[in-house]
C-alpha cells in the first residue's frame, strides 16, 4: 500500500486522534474568545445590528475599525496568545499522536496521547527549536542572501524583468523548498522520537537525516499531497461558510457546526499526513528492523505506557533495537 493510501486510511480510521487535534484548535481559539466577545458585543447595541445580520456592511465595519482601537488591539493580543498556545499544543500533542499512530491504537486515545506527549514534550520542543533555527539559517543562506545579491545586481534593471522574475520565483519556490526540507526533517525527527529511535532531539535529527537520504523528493511529495488536501478543504469550507451568511441565531449555530466539520477534516488531514509519513519512513528503515503490523486488534490498557523505554544500551541512532522493542510493544 502506498504511503498516500496508508495516510488516507489512517485519517479515516483514527478519527479520535483527529478529534483531539480539532479540540486543541478549538481550545486554543477560545483563548481569544472573551476579548472577541467583548469586542463584537457592540454589534447588538448599535445602529448596524440588523444590517450586519443581513450580511456585509462596509460602513459599519470601517467605522467600527476606526472607533474601537483599544478593543481591537486587545483582541489582536489575545489572538497572538491563542497562536502561541496553539503552537505549543501542537508541539506537545504531535509526539503523543505519533506514538498512538505507531501503536495503531484506535481507542481509547485521549489519555495515552496526553501521557505520551508529556513524555516526549521536552525532546519535541528542542526539535521545534532546531527546526526554527535551521529554517531561518537555510532561508537566510539559500533564499535571502541570493535574493539580496540578485537584487543588488539588478538594482538598475526595470521592474519585472528577467532578474526580478527570477528573484520572485526563487524567493517563493526556494523559500517553500527550504521549508519543505526543514519541515520534513523536523517531522521525521519527531517520528524518530516517537519510535524511540533516538532519545533526544539531536539524535532524532540524525536519524531523520538517514531516513531522508536519497528519498527527499518522495518525502516532499507527501508533504505536497497533504498540503493540497489541506488547502482544498480549507478553501471549500471557508468559501461555503462565507456564502451561508446566516440570518438567524439558529443558522449561526448551524454555521458554527458546519465550519467545525471543516476544521475536523483538517485535523483528519493532519493525522493522514503523519500516517503517510510513518508509512514512508517505515520503508526507509533497515530491513531487519521492519516494524510489526499496527493492526492487531490489541486492547489498550490505560495504565500501560505505549512503549517501554529503550534500554540504555540500545543505540538510539541505529533504530534496530528500538524497533524490536516497538514490535514487541505492538503485540503486547
Amino acid at each position: 500500500m502506498s504511503a498516500f493510501l496508508s495516510g488516507i486510511g489512517a485519517a479515516l480510521r483514527h478519527r479520535r486522534l483527529a478529534a483531539i487535534l480539532w479540540l486543541s484548535l478549538l481550545f486554543s481559539a477560545l483563548v481569544a474568545w472573551f476579548p472577541i466577545k467583548a469586542l463584537v458585543a457592540a454589534f447588538d447595541e448599535g445602529a448596524f445590528r440588523e444590517t450586519l445580520v443581513k450580511g456585509w456592511d462596509g460602513w459599519a465595519l470601517l467605522s467600527f475599525w476606526e472607533s474601537r482601537g483599544v478593543e481591537i488591539r486587545i483582541a489582536a493580543a489575545a489572538v497572538a496568545g491563542a497562536l502561541l498556545v496553539f503552537a505549543l499544543l501542537q508541539i506537545f500533542l504531535t509526539g503523543g499522536v505519533l506514538r498512538v499512530l505507531v501503536a495503531g491504537r484506535r481507542r481509547p486515545v485521549f489519555r495515552p496521547v496526553v501521557a505520551e506527549s508529556a513524555g516526549l514534550f521536552k525532546a519535541n520542543l528542542w526539535a521545534a527549536a532546531r527546526f526554527t533555527l535551521s529554517s531561518l539559517f537555510w532561508l537566510g543562506l539559500l533564499v535571502v542572501l541570493p535574493c539580496a545579491g540578485l537584487h543588488r545586481l539588478a538594482k538598475d534593471a526595470p521592474p519585472h524583468g528577467t532578474a526580478a522574475t527570477l528573484l520572485f520565483w526563487w524567493a517563493l519556490l526556494g523559500g517553500l523548498l527550504v521549508l519543505f526540507n526543514t519541515g520534513l526533517r523536523f517531522d521525521l525527527a519527531r517520528i524518530a522520537l516517537a519510535r524511540e529511535d533516538a532519545r533526544d532531539a539531536r539524535g532524532a535529527y540524525r536519524v531523520a537525516r538517514q531516513r531522508i537520504s536519497g528519498r527527499r523528493a518522495s518525502g516532499i511529495g507527501i508533504i505536497l499531497f497533504w498540503l493540497a488536501v489541506f488547502l482544498g478543504v480549507q478553501a471549500l469550507f471557508t468559501s461555503a461558510g462565507l456564502r451561508m451568511n446566516p440570518r438567524t441565531n439558529g443558522a449561526v449555530t448551524g454555521l458554527f457546526l458546519f465550519r467545525q466539520i471543516g476544521f475536523f477534516l483538517l485535523a483528519m488531514a493532519r493525522v493522514g499526513f503523519f500516517a503517510s509519513l510513518l508509512a514512508w519512513e517505515e520503508r526507509r528503515r533497515p530491513a531487519h528492523s521492519v516494524i510489526g503490523s499496527a493492526s492487531g486488534g490489541t486492547t489498550w490498557n490505560v495504565s500501560d505506557p505505549i512503549s517501554a523505554r529503550a534500554p540504555a544500551s540500545a543505540s538510539p541512532e541505529t533504530g534496530s533495537s528500538v524497533m524490536t522493542n516497538g514490535s514487541a510493544l505492538l503485540s503486547s
Binding site: A29, V53, G58, L62, S63, E66, P159, L255
Partner: protein
C-alpha cells in the same frame, strides 16, 4: 493715448469677468526648446516667454518658479518639509539631486539675471531657491506684453516626488522656469494687485496663468515621449530626434520619456462611450435635455503610455478614462481638449505616480493587482479617474492649490468617489461582496478622526502632513457629500454644475464654491460652511435613552385619597408587577435623542414597535436633545436617528440606534463572534502546515 487706453481696457477685461468665460484669458505664451542627455541627466533649455501684465498697474519685477531647485540640497523648503520622504518614496541623497539654473534672461536687450535674487515668501527660508525674483529695467505697463528670452540648464533629480528619473524613465513636471501669477485687483477676490508665486512645497505646486505652449524636445531616438498637447512636428538626425508639441489654453505643461513605453491608443467616442442610463440620470437630475447635455461632447484621443509589464491593465485604464470623460462631461461640462495622455510610471518610479497635469497625468499600476484575488481592488482605476478629474478642478477651474488645496483635492476626491462607486461599487473588494466603497473609505477618514485644522488653509500651514491630507482630501469631500445630502440630489447637482460652468477657464476661490452652495438658501448649509471650512466643527447624533413599559393605567391615590390599583396596607404584598410578556397594551415609551458637537443639521428619528409599526419624526437638530413620549399598542423595540445615514459627518454612527429589551431579533454579535472565531481558527490551523 489710444494705446494706453486699449491696454487699460485689456487689463480690465483680464482682471474680473462678470460671467463664465468661453475661453481662458491668455496671459502667457511659451515657446520652449529643450534637450535631454539621458546619460548625464542634464537638460539644456531655452524659452521665449511672452507675458502680458493683466493688471492696471505697472509691474517692476517678475517672479519665476524654479521648482527643481527643491531637489538641489537638503536645505530646500521641500526637503525640510518632506524630510526627504514622500508617499513612501525616499530621496536619493547620494546622487539623486537636481537643480535648475537660469543662465540668461533677456528683455529688450538687457540681461536680467545679474540683478535677480531668490526669495522665500512663504517661510523665509534663506536657502530655498525655488522662487526667483527678477527686477526689470523698466516696469511692464498694464496690458503690455513683455517677451523674454530665457536660457537655463538643469539636472533631473532622481524621482521620489512627482518629477525626475529612474533608470531611463523620465517625468518632466514643473521643469522649466515658469512665471508666477501676477494677480490683478479683483482676481480671486484680491483687493490689491500683486504677485502670487509660492515656493515649491512638499504638499503643493499648482497655480499658474493660462496661455499657449509650444515645446520642442530633443532626445535620443529610442525614447517614446508622452506629452501634454499634440505632436505637430518630428525630425530625426544623428540618432536623436526632435519632437514639437503644441497646446493652447492650458496653464501647465508636462511630458515624459521612456524607451520602454508601450503605447495604447483609443478614442473616446461620445456616441458609444457615454452610457445612456447616465445621460438619463443626469438629464432628470439637472433638468436639462439629454441632447443639451451631450451637445458639447466630441471625440477625444486617448493615449496610454504603459510599462511593458503592465500590459494587462490597458483596458482597465482606458475604460476608467472613458467613464471619467463621460461623467465629467455630463455633470460638470464636456472636456474641451482633443486628447489626453496617460503615463504609467514604472514600479521603481512610483514617486511620479498619481500626478495631475493638464492634458497629461500619471496613473498607478502594480502587477500584483492583475492577479486573483487582488484584481478586484480597483485602485488603478480609481487613480486614473482621480488624476484625470484633477484636470477639471485644478486644471479647467484653475484654483490656487498652494492656498486652497481642498479646491483641487477635495472637490476632486468627491467627484472621484461618485464616479468610482457608481461604476465599480465597492472598489476594495476581497472576496466578492465583501469590500468598501470609495465614499466609505473617505468618510471613515474624515468623520472618525480628530484634527487640529479647518479645511481652509495654505497647504504648508497645516499642523502636519496628516492634517494636510485629511483637510485636503477626505474632510472636504465628505463635507461636500454632507451638503449634497442637505440640499438634495437635484438642487445640489444643479448648483454643482452651475459652479463648474461658471468658473471654467477661470481662477475660482473657496468662497466662489461656497457661495454657489449657499445659493439655494439652505440654512443648515449656511451654518455648516463656517464650522467646517473655517472651523473644526463636528456632530454626533446619539440615542441617549430608549425604554418601553406596560401602561397599566392610573396607580396611586385619586383625588378622594382612594387607593387605585395598589394595596395601601403597609404589611400587604403590594401590587404585582405587570407581566410584560402577557401585557396586551398599551405601552408607554420614552426616547431621548441627542446631538453633540457644534454642527446643527436635521435628522430623521424612527421608532420601531414590536408589531412592525414605525413612527417617523423629523428633528430639526436644533438644541442638544429631544424627547419623544409615545403611547402605543405594541412595545417599542428600537429607536434610531438618521437611519438613512444622511449625516455623513456623524462622528460615531454606532450610537445612532438603541434596542429595548423587547427586541427579539437575531443577534449580530453572535454572528460576529462566530465569524471571528472561525477567522482565528483559520489562522491557527495554518500552523498545522508548519509545526
Amino acid at each position: 493715448m489710444r494705446r494706453s487706453l486699449s491696454a487699460a481696457a485689456l487689463a480690465l477685461a483680464l482682471a474680473v469677468p462678470a460671467a463664465a468665460l468661453e475661453a481662458p484669458r491668455k496671459i502667457v505664451d511659451y515657446d520652449i526648446r529643450v534637450s535631454l542627455d539621458p546619460g548625464t541627466k542634464l537638460v539644456e533649455g531655452e524659452e521665449t516667454l511672452k507675458w502680458t501684465n493683466p493688471s492696471d498697474v505697472p509691474v517692476g519685477e517678475l517672479r519665476f518658479h524654479l521648482y527643481w531647485n527643491a531637489f538641489r540640497n537638503d536645505r530646500s523648503t521641500f526637503l525640510r518639509e518632506s524630510g526627504g520622504q514622500l508617499w513612501g518614496g525616499k530621496a536619493d541623497t547620494g546622487k539623486g539631486w537636481g537643480y535648475t539654473d537660469v543662465t540668461s534672461m533677456k528683455w529688450e536687450g538687457a540681461e536680467l539675471v545679474k540683478g535677480a535674487r531668490f526669495e522665500s515668501p512663504d517661510d523665509g527660508n534663506p536657502d530655498d531657491r525655488t522662487v526667483l525674483v527678477v527686477p526689470l529695467p523698466r516696469p511692464v505697463a498694464p496690458g503690455e506684453t513683455a517677451a523674454l528670452a530665457i536660457v537655463w540648464k538643469a539636472k533631473v533629480p532622481r524621482v521620489y516626488a512627482r518629477a525626475g528619473y529612474v533608470r531611463d524613465f523620465f517625468f518632466f513636471g514643473q521643469w522649466f522656469p515658469k512665471i508666477g501669477v501676477y494677480e490683478p485687483t479683483g482676481r480671486r477676490r484680491r483687493t490689491d494687485s500683486g504677485w502670487n508665486c509660492h515656493q515649491y512645497h512638499a504638499t503643493s505646486e499648482f497655480y499658474a496663468d493660462w496661455g499657449d505652449y509650444r515645446v520642442t524636445i530633443t532626445l535620443p531616438e529610442k525614447f517614446v515621449v508622452a506629452s501634454a498637447g499634440a505632436l505637430v512636428a518630428e525630425t530625426k538626425a544623428s540618432g536623436r530626434k526632435t519632437l514639437t508639441f503644441e497646446q493652447k489654453a492650458i496653464h501647465d505643461f508636462a511630458f515624459s520619456a521612456d524607451p520602454r513605453y508601450v503605447v495604447v491608443e483609443d478614442v473616446f467616442d461620445p456616441a458609444k462611450d457615454v452610457p445612456k442610463d447616465e445621460i438619463a440620470r443626469a438629464s432628470k437630475t439637472l433638468g436639462r435635455s439629454g441632447a443639451d447635455l451631450v451637445a458639447g461632447f466630441h471625440k477625444v484621443a486617448i493615449r496610454l503610455y504603459l510599462q511593458p509589464d503592465h500590459r494587462a491593465f490597458d483596458r482597465r485604464h482606458i475604460e476608467a478614462q472613458k467613464w471619467a470623460l463621460a461623467w465629467t462631461g455630463l455633470w460638470a461640462f464636456p472636456y474641451p481638449y482633443a486628447q489626453i495622455s496617460i503615463v504609467d510610471p514604472p514600479e521603481d518610479g512610483m514617486g511620479a505616480a498619481g500626478m495631475e497635469y493638464q492634458t497629461i497625468y500619471t496613473t498607478f499600476t502594480k502587477t500584483y493587482l492583475s492577479h486573483w484575488p487582488l484584481d478586484r481592488l480597483y485602485v488603478p482605476e480609481m487613480v486614473t479617474i482621480h488624476e484625470f478629474t484633477h484636470g477639471y478642478w485644478y486644471g479647467l477651474l484653475a484654483s490656487n492649490e498652494f492656498e486652497e488645496s481642498w479646491m483641487d483635492e477635495g472637490i476632486n476626491t468627491f467627484t472621484e468617489f461618485v464616479m468610482v462607486d457608481r461604476k465599480y461599487g465597492p472598489f476594495l473588494e476581497v472576496p466578492p461582496g465583501i469590500g468598501f466603497t470609495d465614499e466609505e473609505v473617505n468618510r471613515a477618514e474624515a468623520a472618525l478622526t480628530q484634527d487640529h485644522d479647518p479645511i481652509l488653509s495654505s497647504a504648508w500651514k497645516y499642523a502636519g502632513e496628516g492634517s494636510y491630507g485629511r483637510n485636503s482630501y477626505p474632510q472636504p469631500c465628505t463635507t461636500i457629500q454632507q451638503i449634497r445630502n442637505l440640499l438634495g440630489e437635484e438642487t445640489f447637482w444643479r448648483v454643482f454644475r452651475g459652479y463648474a460652468e461658471r468658473w471654467r477657464f477661470d481662477h475660482p476661490t473657496s468662497e466662489d464654491f461656497l457661495d454657489a452652495m449657499r445659493t439655494p438658501g439652505n440654512p443648515y448649509v449656511a451654518a455648516l460652511i463656517p464650522k467646517t471650512w473655517y472651523g473644526r466643527g463636528w456632530v454626533d447624533f446619539t440615542i441617549l435613552d430608549a425604554r418601553t413599559v406596560p401602561d397599566d393605567g392610573f396607580t396611586g391615590f385619586d383625588d378622594a385619597e382612594k387607593p387605585v390599583n395598589f394595596d395601601p396596607d403597609p404589611k400587604g404584598k403590594g401590587k404585582e408587577p405587570p407581566d410584560e410578556k402577557r401585557h396586551k397594551g398599551p405601552w408607554q415609551s420614552l426616547v431621548v435623542v441627542g446631538r453633540d458637537g457644534d454642527i446643527e443639521m436635521p435628522a430623521n428619528v424612527v421608532l420601531t414597535f414590536k408589531d412592525g409599526q414605525k413612527v417617523e419624526r423629523m428633528w430639526d437638530g436644533v438644541g442638544g436633545w429631544i424627547k419623544y413620549h409615545v403611547t402605543s399598542t405594541s412595545p417599542l423595540v428600537k429607536a434610531e436617528v438618521d437611519p438613512e445615514r444622511r449625516a455623513v459627518l456623524d462622528r460615531n454612527p454606532w450610537n445612532n440606534a438603541r434596542y429595548t429589551k423587547r427586541y427579539e431579533g437575531p443577534s449580530a454579535a453572535a454572528k460576529g463572534r462566530i465569524y471571528a472565531l472561525h477567522l482565528v481558527e483559520i489562522l491557527l490551523s495554518t500552523l498545522w502546515g508548519i509545526l
